[in-house]
Amino acid sequence: MTDEFSIFGLVLLLIVLALAVVRLTSLLAVAILAGAMSFILAAVYTLLDAVDVAFTEAVVGAGISLALMLAAISLTTREEAPWRRRPAERILALLVSLVSGAGLLYATLDMPLLGDPTAPATLHVAARYIAESPASTGVPNMVTAILASYRGFDTLGEVAVIFTAGVGVIALLRHWREDRA
């Protein structure tokens, strides 16, 4: 039970931070608050026993993406340009977010409850992974065994995506004089 209370409190904190991110105009503060949100999410994942996901969220969300955002901000300005919307646009935006928010809430009604043992996700291949993976791969961390062996093709595809994205950014931003820096 205490876990559920902690998760509830952390999610409330996330909502407060999200509102702050929307209201603030200092890009630096927004980037740092987004990093803080990632840390809170990582804590939530840890409470849900998803330590691998929590680790990734902490290093990527709070670590590297914050550093890359700061690097990007250092190339532009630190303040968001003031931008006033007309009232009609505001009403339209409110309508769109209310409708899509209601749709998302409606969709969650179909989702299985947290930790439901009869949820489809826990009934399909998960049982086989838990039964077989330690013996057939010799790797105690099942997450690693699934990602690297059972789903080796997926992970290869992910690495190819990271490679392609990186090469794209480098091709766009780099000055192709030889390394004289």
């Binding site: 690097a71 010799g138 997450v143 080796g152 093709f153």
Partner: protein, 141 residues
């Protein structure tokens, strides 16, 4: 940020431990949380912190851009190449069991360690390279 002596000294002490922690996460991913992806990110973070404090000039002295570009490619080649190696040994693409003919589970373990290394090298390379090209652009202004 080079003018703050406290930051400089602390970062100088911290960076080797960040890189060591990255290697630990890389090599311990089969027993504890983490793995190639997280290790690559932590490794890149170490280099990025060094770059932020000591500047792009000293950073590319330590890690030249050509080496980083090599990492970007080598990791993916290592991963994809493991698949071809298992094919050459008579298995399916990325079926690591054939890496150890006597003990398939050990073969799986070896394969997982190799491809996680590939993931880590590419991720570390890409993230370092992206930050370095940003910093390079800023240094030229």
């Amino acid at each position: 940020m080079n003018e703050f002596i406290l930051v400089r000294v602390v970062v100088k002490i911290m960076v080797p431990f960040i890189l060591l922690f990255a290697l630990y996460v890389q090599m311990h991913g089969d027993y504890g949380p983490g793995g190639g992806f997280q290790a690559g990110v932590v490794f890149a973070t170490g280099i990025i912190v060094y770059t932020i404090v000591f500047g792009i000039r000293r950073a590319v002295e330590a890690v030249p851009m050509s080496a980083v570009m090599g990492m970007v490619c080598c990791g993916l080649i290592l991963y994809a190449g493991t698949g071809f190696a298992t094919m050459a040994l008579g298995g399916e693409y990325l079926n690591y069991s054939v890496l150890d003919s006597a003990d398939p589970a050990h073969g799986q373990h070896v394969g997982i360690i190799i491809i996680e290394l590939g993931v880590g090298i590419t991720v570390a390379g890409v993230l370092t390279a992206v930050f370095l090209v940003f910093a390079e652009r800023r240094a030229r202004r």
